[in-house]
């Protein structure tokens, strides 16, 4: 396959970036998208040019490290797929492909296609956990009875890998789906009830402090989420927050 790539290049966080055109030939349709970028980088290194920086880790669709806005969509045109699981057979020979970093004020570009998603980590640190006594007398979580429906709902929410595709897809750069999933996974379990009030308040406050936009229910996040996190998680977040604030 021969492809025409338009890729965002940016020297560092302070520099002004721009789209740069590349042409790449001999791409196997069975390569993953990241392998295609690897091939391009080998080509650039051979030409004594600066390779393109991009995030990746497990390349198995579970770590949430890879990102990339591909042809205007987070993780590309496939549904329920991360960039590392996207294959070149989804494109046609001669295609022009736009590759950009996820864009949001809370996701500043570090270099080229690499973004700083530590805002998600700070939101998690604000309340996305349950406090467990690890003094040696820890009670196994499985000893607490949980009904099947609640367990399944909590598990579905916990499937969020925190990649940031929801923010990238949203016209408002809202992190509501991510925060909603992290709040919901505990809201549906008995272990999460003790800190439910502070969790909802602190995580929502941190989300706003990071500069994410608000949710206008467009549903883009749900469609683009590689893990199929449902929009209903946002309704749960809203309900948990209102419950928390009325409790005081």
């Amino acid at each position: 396959m021969k492809l025409f790539l338009k890729i965002w290049r940016q020297e560092n966080a302070q520099a002004k970036g721009q789209m740069v055109d590349y042409t790449i030939d001999g791409i196997d349709p069975n390569m993953s998208f990241l392998e295609m970028l690897d091939v391009l980088n080998e080509q650039l290194v051979a030409e004594n040019k600066e390779p393109i920086e991009f995030d990746h880790d497990c390349r198995e669709g579970i770590c949430g490290t890879c990102s990339l806005q591909i042809n205007g969509q987070p993780h590309g045109p496939d549904r329920l797929t991360t960039t590392c699981q996207l294959h070149m057979r989804k494109f046609k020979d001669g295609d022009t492909i736009y590759i950009e970093p996820f864009r949001a004020k809370a996701f500043p570009v570090v270099k080229d296609l690499v973004i700083d998603r530590s805002s998600f980590e700070r939101i998690q640190q604000a309340g996305g956990y349950v406090s467990v006594n690890t003094s040696g007398n820890t009670i196994d979580a499985n000893t607490i009875p949980v009904d099947k429906e609640s367990a399944d709902t909590a598990f579905d929410s916990a499937a969020c890998i925190g990649c940031g595709a929801c923010v990238a897809a949203c016209k408002n750069a809202s992190a509501a789906l991510f925060v909603g999933a992290k709040i919901s996974q505990f809201a549906n379990l008995p272990q999460g009830q003790v800190e439910a009030t502070q969790r909802a308040i602190n995580m929502v406050n941190q989300m706003d402090a990071e500069g994410f936009g608000s949710c206008t229910n467009t549903g883009a996040c749900e469609i683009e989420c590689p893990k199929g996190i449902k929009l209903t998680n946002i309704a749960t977040m809203n309900r948990e927050y209102i419950k928390a604030t009325t409790k005081g």
Partner: protein
């Protein structure tokens, strides 16, 4: 408590509540207006009640005005904040692949509805202020509301503007009505039934308004 109300979630909750309140007003409004196509005398009685009743005029009407103003101002505040959340846009952003036009352009449909409200107030609200609040209730001064309504819908340009505005109202409701439930945290409960109800309400109510406008225009030709 006050610090909690400043978050985006609280603001969206307030937007959702005010939206649902305005939807309930629309239902009442379309019901009264529809009566005008069935019985002019009942329409006149209902209009007289709405126009002169103390509770409606001095309690519900101010709440309605506050609701409209709040919904619009909060919508603008959230829109401005949302634009700040992505200072550098995409070179290519395929929004149509994952969202509807209605969901992306609530601010546009909202502004069109607000402009329409200006015309609507000019047509029906401001002319009534004098006799409603001027000299108190006087049965002899009560106008023939039905005749006044029909007279307004003789101008094809005005009818066209009304019909177009109701189309924008439909687009606004098609996203906003169900979205309001989501914003107040009800979206995941009975969501299929709620979605269906919100969708048909959003289509039928503006269609009824259009029918009423066209009924009076063509009925008098």
């Amino acid at each position: 408590m006050g610090r909690y109300l400043n978050t985006t979630v609280a603001k969206k909750f307030a937007m959702g509540l005010s939206g649902l309140f305005l939807v309930s007003f629309l239902l009442m409004h379309v019901t009264v207006n529809f009566v005008s196509t069935v019985s002019p005398s009942v329409y006149n009685s209902l209009s007289e009640f709405m126009g002169y009743n103390f509770v409606v005029q001095l309690l519900l009407q101010p709440i309605l005005v506050i609701g409209v103003v709040f919904h619009f101002v909060m919508g603008m505040v959230l829109e401005v904040n949302n634009r700040k959340a992505r200072p550098i846009g995409y070179e290519k952003f395929d929004k149509s692949s994952n969202t509807t036009w209605m969901s992306r352009n609530m601010i546009i449909t909202g502004i069109v509805i607000l402009l329409f409200l200006g015309l609507h107030m000019y047509d029906f609200f401001f002319p009534e202020l004098a006799y409603k609040f001027g000299n108190g209730y006087d049965a002899a001064q009560v106008p023939d509301f039905y005749t006044g309504l029909v007279a307004k819908f003789q101008d094809p340009i005005r009818v066209g503007i009304y019909v177009l505005s109701f189309v924008f109202l439909m687009l606004h409701l098609l996203h906003g009505f169900y979205g309001s439930f989501q914003s107040i945290g009800w979206g995941d409960r009975n969501s299929r039934a709620l979605k269906g109800f919100a969708k048909w309400f959003s289509i039928l109510v503006p269609l009824l308004f259009i029918y009423i406008a066209l009924f009076h225009y063509f009925g008098s030709l």
